[in-house]
C-alpha cells in the first residue's frame, strides 16, 4: 500500500496543466472564474508540494512513482518515472511558492491587461512545466518539460506586445531557447545511443560503469547538456536574451523567470553534473563551471551598473546572482553545494521580491525608467520598506538572507583556494561583486524611492493590498532565512545536499535495491555529505544584533519627538526652514539621475563598459554566435582535458 503522498508529485504537476486547460475553456468571459480556477490550481499544487516536502525532506523518504505503473522489467526502465528526493523536493518547493505568490500578485497587477485568460493559461503552463521538470526522473520527459517551459516563456515575454521591445525580446528568447533545447535533445540522444535508457537513475549507473573520461561521445553529450542547461539558467555568455525577456515581461512573470525558470536550469546542471554523469569529482569540470559562474557574476553586475531601466537592471542582477550559485555548485564540495542551494533559494526570494517592487512602481506610476522617477518613498512607504529589505538582502548585508548564503559561498571558495591560486581570484571577484551589487541598488534607491519627488507623482498611491500581501510574505521570508540560518540549513539544505552527494542511493531507490552493485560493481553505500560547517556563526549572534537594533530604534523614537514642523501629508508649501538646502538659492527641482551616479567608478572603466555595451548589441545573430561559440569552446575544452 503506497502512502497517499506518493501520488502527489504527479498530481501537483497535473493539476496545474488541468488548470491551464480549464482556464482556456471556461475563463474566456468571466474574470472571477478564471482567477478562481488559476488560484485553485496553484493553491492545490502548492499544498501538495508542501506535503511532499514534509514527507521527503523532513521524514527522509524518497518517492518513486512509475506513471501507469510501468515498473522496470529485468532491470530496464520502460516507463516514465518520477523520483523525488530531497533535491527535487527543495526545488519543487521554490517553484510552487513562486507560482503561488505570483498568482496572488497577478490578480490586481494584470487586471488592466487584455486577454487575462491567455495570461493565466500560459502562467499555469509555465508553472506546471517547471514543476514537472524538477520532479521527473526521466530525462526525455525533462526535455519535453523544457520545451513547454520555453514555449510558455516566449509567449509570456511577448504578452504585452504593445510595450517597447516585447516582441523582439520574445523572438530572441525563442531563438536562443530553441538552440538550448536542441543542444539538450542532442545530448540526450547521445546518452541514449550509449546506454539505451532514458531513466536518470539507470543512466547514472550505466555511465558510472562505462566511465566518461576518454569516451568522446559521452564528453560531447556532457558538453551539449551543460550548454543546454546553461542556456536555461542564463549564465554568461547565454544571458543576453534573459535581460531582454525579464525587462519586457510583466513583473509577475519576471518573478517567475528569475524565481523558477533559471532555477530549473540550475537544477538541470546539478542533476547532470552530480547525478547523471557524476563528473563533479573531476577538477577540470569544476574549473569550467566556476569559470562560467565567476564571469557571470562580474559581467552581470557591471552591466547592471550601466542600466537605467528598473527591470533590466534587476535582470542583470539575476545573471550575477546565478553566477554565485553556479560558482558554488561548481566547487564540488558539500559546503559549496549547500551555499549554492541556499543562495538559489535566497535568490528566488529576494529577486522575486525586487521584481514585484518594480511591478508595484510600474503599477502605481506607469514607469520603469529610473531617470524619470524620484521621491516615491513618501507616496509608497510600504513598497519602499519592502524594497530596502530586498535590496539589502541581495547586497548581502547582515542580518538578511543574502549574507548567510554568500558567507557560505565565500567560505567554500576560499577553502578551495588552498588547492589553487585561481580560487583566491574567484573569492576576490565574489566579494567585489557583492559591493558592486550594493552600489547598483543604492542607485535604484536614490533614483526611484528617494531624491526629490516629481510633481506628476502627486496622485500616486500605494498599491492595493492583494499586491502588498505576497510582497510582505517574501520580505518576511527574506528576514527569516537570514536570522535563522541554522534552522533552514538543518531542515532544508542539508537533506538536499545529502541527496546531491549520494548518487548510489538515488539509483538504488529508483531501480530496486542492489541495482548499483549489479551494474557498477560497487555497493550502494549512503554517502552522507561531510559535516557542513556553515562557517563560524551561531544564530545567537543574530539575536544579539537584533536586540541592539531594537534598543537603538527605541532611542531613535525618543529623539524623533524633538523634530518639529514636519508636515508629511499636507499639500501646502513647506516653510523655508524645512525646505531642502540649496545654498541660498531658491529651491528648484534638481535631482541626480541614476545614470549619473558612480561616474567616478565608470570613468575609470570607460573602455570596459563601452566594450560590454558593444557586445550586448541587440542583434539576435550575435547572441547565437555567442551561444554556439560557447558550445564549441565547451566541447573542445572538455575533449582536451577529459
Amino acid at each position: 500500500m503506497m502512502n497517499y503522498v506518493e501520488h502527489f508529485p504527479a498530481l501537483a504537476t497535473m493539476v496545474l496543466f488541468l488548470g491551464a486547460f480549464l482556464v482556456t475553456i471556461f475563463g474566456g468571459k468571466n474574470k472571477t472564474l478564471r482567477i478562481f480556477l488559476a488560484m485553485a490550481a496553484a493553491t492545490a499544487s502548492f499544498v501538495m508540494v508542501l506535503c511532499v516536502a514534509k514527507y521527503v525532506i523532513i521524514d527522509g523518504n524518497i518517492i518513486t512513482y512509475w506513471l501507469g505503473n510501468w515498473t522496470p522489467v529485468k532491470d530496464y526502465a520502460i516507463g516514465i518515472g518520477l523520483e523525488v528526493d530531497s533535491l527535487n523536493a527543495f526545488f519543487a518547493l521554490l517553484v510552487t511558492l513562486t507560482t503561488y505568490l505570483s498568482g496572488w500578485y497577478s490578480i490586481k497587477y494584470m487586471s488592466r491587461d487584455e486577454g487575462g485568460d491567455y495570461y493565466y493559461t500560459l502562467y499555469l503552463m509555465l508553472s506546471g512545466s517547471v514543476l514537472g521538470l524538477v520532479l521527473t526522473g526521466d530525462i526525455f520527459n525533462m526535455f519535453v518539460m523544457i520545451e513547454i517551459m520555453t514555449f510558455a516563456c516566449v509567449a509570456l515575454t511577448a504578452f504585452r506586445n504593445w510595450s517597447k521591445g516585447a516582441l523582439e525580446a520574445g523572438f530572441k528568447y525563442l531563438v536562443i531557447g530553441s538552440l538550448g533545447s536542441t543542444c539538450t535533445l542532442t545530448g540526450i540522444a547521445l546518452l541514449y545511443a550509449q546506454c539505451h535508457t532514458l531513466n536518470m537513475a539507470q543512466l547514472s549507473a550505466m555511465i558510472a560503469k562505462v566511465g566518461i573520461t576518454g569516451n568522446s561521445t559521452m564528453i560531447l553529450a556532457f558538453a551539449l547538456l551543460i550548454t543546454g542547461f546553461g542556456i536555461k539558467s542564463y549564465a554568461v555568455p547565454f544571458h543576453f536574451v534573459a535581460a531582454d525577456a525579464y525587462m519586457a515581461a510583466p513583473a509577475s512573470v519576471s518573478m517567475l523567470f528569475s524565481g523558477m525558470v533559471n532555477k530549473a536550469g540550475v537544477y538541470g546542471l546539478i542533476r547532470v553534473c552530480y547525478i547523471i554523469l557524476q563528473t563533479m569529482g573531476l577538477g577540470k569540470v569544476q574549473t569550467l563551471l566556476v569559470a562560467v559562474g565567476t564571469v557571470s557574476m562580474f559581467v552581470g553586475v557591471t552591466m547592471a551598473l550601466n542600466q537605467h531601466d528598473f527591470k533590466r537592471l534587476l535582470a542583470f542582477h539575476s545573471i550575477s546572482q546565478i553566477g554565485y550559485v553556479l560558482t558554488a555548485i561548481g566547487l564540488g564540495t558539500a559546503l559549496g553545494v549547500a551555499g549554492g542551494l541556499y543562495h538559489a533559494m535566497n535568490h528566488t526570494l529576494f529577486k522575486g521580491l525586487l521584481f514585484l517592487c518594480a511591478g508595484a512602481v510600474y503599477y502605481a506610476t506607469g514607469r520603469t525608467n529610473l531617470n524619470n522617477m524620484g521621491g516615491l518613498a513618501k507616496k509608497m512607504p510600504q513598497t519602499c520598506i519592502i524594497f530596502l529589505i530586498a535590496a539589502f538582502s541581495i547586497s548581502g548585508l547582515p542580518p538578511f538572507n543574502g549574507f548567510v548564503s554568500k558567507w557560505m559561498i565565500y567560505q567554500a571558495i576560499y577553502a578551495k583556494s588552498a588547492q589553487s591560486f585561481g580560487y583566491l581570484f574567484v573569492t576576490v571577484v565574489a566579494l567585489i561583486t557583492s559591493t558592486l551589487t550594493l552600489a547598483s541598488f543604492i542607485k535604484v534607491t536614490q533614483s526611484a524611492f528617494f531624491g526629490q519627488s516629481r510633481p506628476e507623482f502627486d496622485d500616486v498611491k500605494e498599491v492595493p493590498g492583494s499586491m502588498l500581501l505576497p510582497m510582505w510574505v517574501m520580505a518576511i521570508l527574506c528576514v527569516f532565512t537570514g536570522v535563522a540560518p541554522k534552522f533552514v540549513t538543518e531542515k532544508l539544505i542539508t537533506p538536499a545536499v545529502n541527496a546531491v552527494m549520494s548518487v548510489n542511493k538515488y539509483i538504488d531507490t529508483m531501480m530496486g535495491a542492489g541495482y548499483t552493485e549489479k551494474i557498477t560493481g560497487s555497493a550502494a553505500t549512503e554517502i552522507s555529505a561531510e559535516q557542513i560547517t556553515i562557517g563560524n556563526w551561531t544564530p545567537v549572534m543574530w539575536l544579539v544584533l537584533f536586540g541592539i537594533v531594537l534598543v537603538a530604534f527605541t532611542v531613535v523614537a525618543v529623539f524623533g519627538k524633538s523634530s518639529r514642523g514636519y508636515t508629511n501629508n499636507s499639500k501646502e508649501q513647506p516653510d523655508n526652514k524645512h525646505a531642502t538646502f540649496f545654498g541660498g538659492e531658491m529651491a528648484t527641482r534638481s535631482t541626480v539621475v541614476g545614470s549619473d551616479l558612480f561616474w567616478g567608478f565608470r570613468h575609470n572603466f570607460k573602455g570596459y563598459f563601452e566594450k560590454l555595451e558593444g557586445i550586448h548589441s541587440g542583434v539576435v545573430n550575435d547572441y547565437a554566435v555567442w551561444a554556439i561559440g560557447a558550445l564549441a569552446v565547451f566541447v573542445m575544452y572538455l575533449n582536451a582535458v577529459l
Binding site: G396, L436, G451, M541, V544, H578, T580, V592, N604
Partner: protein, 317 residues
C-alpha cells in the same frame, strides 16, 4: 544560554559606552596632534564630546522632502553596526563575543553598513547635494573594498598555514604563537595597504570625497541637524576607533600580558598609533583627491601592494 556578561559587553565594555568615550577621546587626540603639526594650539581634547552633546540639544529639522523613518533610523543603524564590530574583534586573548567566533567576512560586511547608513540616510533627505555625496561615498566604498579584501585574504592565507582561514580567532592565535603579523616581512606590503585603507574607510581628509565640505557641503549630511547629525558625527569618531582597532587586531596582535586590563591598555595604545600614522599624518600632509583619483589610487597602488602580500603568502613566505 543567556550570559549576563553579554549585557556588560554590549553596553559598557567594549560596547556602546566604551566606544562612545574612547571614540571621542581618540578623535580629540587626533585633532590635537593635527593642530600641533600645523603649529596651532588646537581644540581641547574633549572637544568632540562637547560637539556631540551640543548637537544632541539642538532642534532636529526634517526637510519636507525627506522620508522621516529612514532619515532618522539610518545613523543609529550605522552606530549599532560599528559597536557590533567592536564586540567581535579579538584584543589579544580577549574577545567580547569570542564564542561566536565571527570571521572576516562578517567584519567586511559589518564595515559596509555604516557607509550604507550614511548613503541611505543621505538619499532619504532628498537633497541633490546629498545625491552627489552618496554617489561619491559609494565609489569610495568600492575603492577600498578591493584592497581590503585582498589584505584579509593574504592574512587568512598566512594564518591558515597549510589551508586558509577566515576566522579572526585563528588569526589571533597565529599571532599569539608567532608574534605580530606585521613582523612577518611578507605581510609588510599588506600592512601598508591596510594603513591606506583605514583613512578611506573612515572618510577622513584626503579621501573625504563624499563629505567634501568645500564642494558639496558635507554631501550626505547636508540636511542633517540636531540629534541625528550628532549620531553621525559620533559614528565618525567611533569608526576611527573601530577601523584602527581592526588594524591592530589584524597586524599588531600577539601574546599579550594575560591581564585583561593591561591588554586592553596596550591594544588601545596601538589603536592610537595607527590613528596617528594612517589618519593624522596623511591628513596633515595631503590635499583632497578627486573621486575618480581615489578610485584609481586604490585599485592600482593599494591593491597592488595587497596583491604582493597575497602572492607572497601564497608561496608560503
Amino acid at each position: 544560554m543567556f550570559n549576563p556578561m553579554w549585557l556588560f559587553y554590549i553596553l559598557v565594555f567594549p560596547g556602546a559606552l566604551f566606544c562612545f568615550v574612547a571614540g571621542t577621546l581618540l578623535n580629540g587626540l587626533d585633532r590635537k596632534v593635527y593642530a600641533k603639526m600645523q603649529q596651532r594650539i588646537g581644540p581641547p581634547i574633549l572637544q568632540p564630546f562637547y560637539d556631540f552633546m551640543k548637537l544632541m540639544g539642538k532642534e532636529t529639522i526634517i526637510p519636507y522632502e525627506a522620508n522621516k523613518t529612514v532619515f532618522l533610523g539610518a545613523p543609529v543603524v550605522g552606530f549599532v553596526a560599528l559597536v557590533t564590530i567592536m564586540l567581535l574583534l579579538p584584543q589579544f586573548g580577549f574577545t567580547a563575543f569570542g564564542e561566536l567566533n565571527a570571521d572576516m567576512i562578517v567584519i567586511i560586511y559589518l564595515l559596509t553598513i555604516p557607509a550604507a547608513s550614511i548613503i541611505i540616510g543621505g538619499a532619504a533627505s532628498g537633497s541633490p547635494y546629498a545625491g552627489v555625496g552618496i554617489s561619491r561615498e559609494m565609489v569610495s566604498v568600492i575603492s577600498f573594498e578591493l584592497p581590503l579584501v585582498m589584505v584579509l585574504l593574504a592574512i587568512g592565507k598566512k594564518a591558515g598555514g597549510d589551508g586558509v582561514t577566515f576566522s579572526m580567532k585563528a588569526i589571533a592565535d597565529y599571532q599569539a604563537a608567532n608574534g605580530a603579523m606585521i613582523c612577518q616581512w611578507s605581510m609588510i606590503p599588506a600592512a601598508l595597504a591596510m594603513l591606506l585603507v583605514v583613512p578611506c574607510e573612515v572618510g577622513c581628509h584626503p579621501f573625504d570625497v563624499a563629505e567634501a565640505e568645500t564642494e558639496i557641503c558635507e554631501g550626505p549630511l547636508v540636511e542633517y541637524s540636531g540629534a541625528p547629525l550628532g549620531v553621525f558625527k559620533l559614528n565618525y569618531y567611533v569608526k576611527q576607533l573601530v577601523v584602527s582597532a581592526l588594524f591592530a587586531a589584524l597586524f599588531l596582535g600577539g601574546k599579550g600580558t594575560g591581564i585583561v586590563a593591561a591588554d586592553a591598555a596596550i591594544f588601545y595604545g596601538e589603536c592610537l598609533l595607527v590613528t596617528f600614522f594612517s589618519m593624522t599624518l596623511i591628513r596633515a600632509t595631503c590635499a583632497r583627491l578627486k573621486v575618480e583619483q581615489v578610485f584609481k589610487f586604490y585599485w592600482t597602488v593599494v591593491a597592488g601592494l595587497a596583491l604582493v602580500s597575497l602572492v607572497l603568502a601564497w608561496f608560503g613566505l
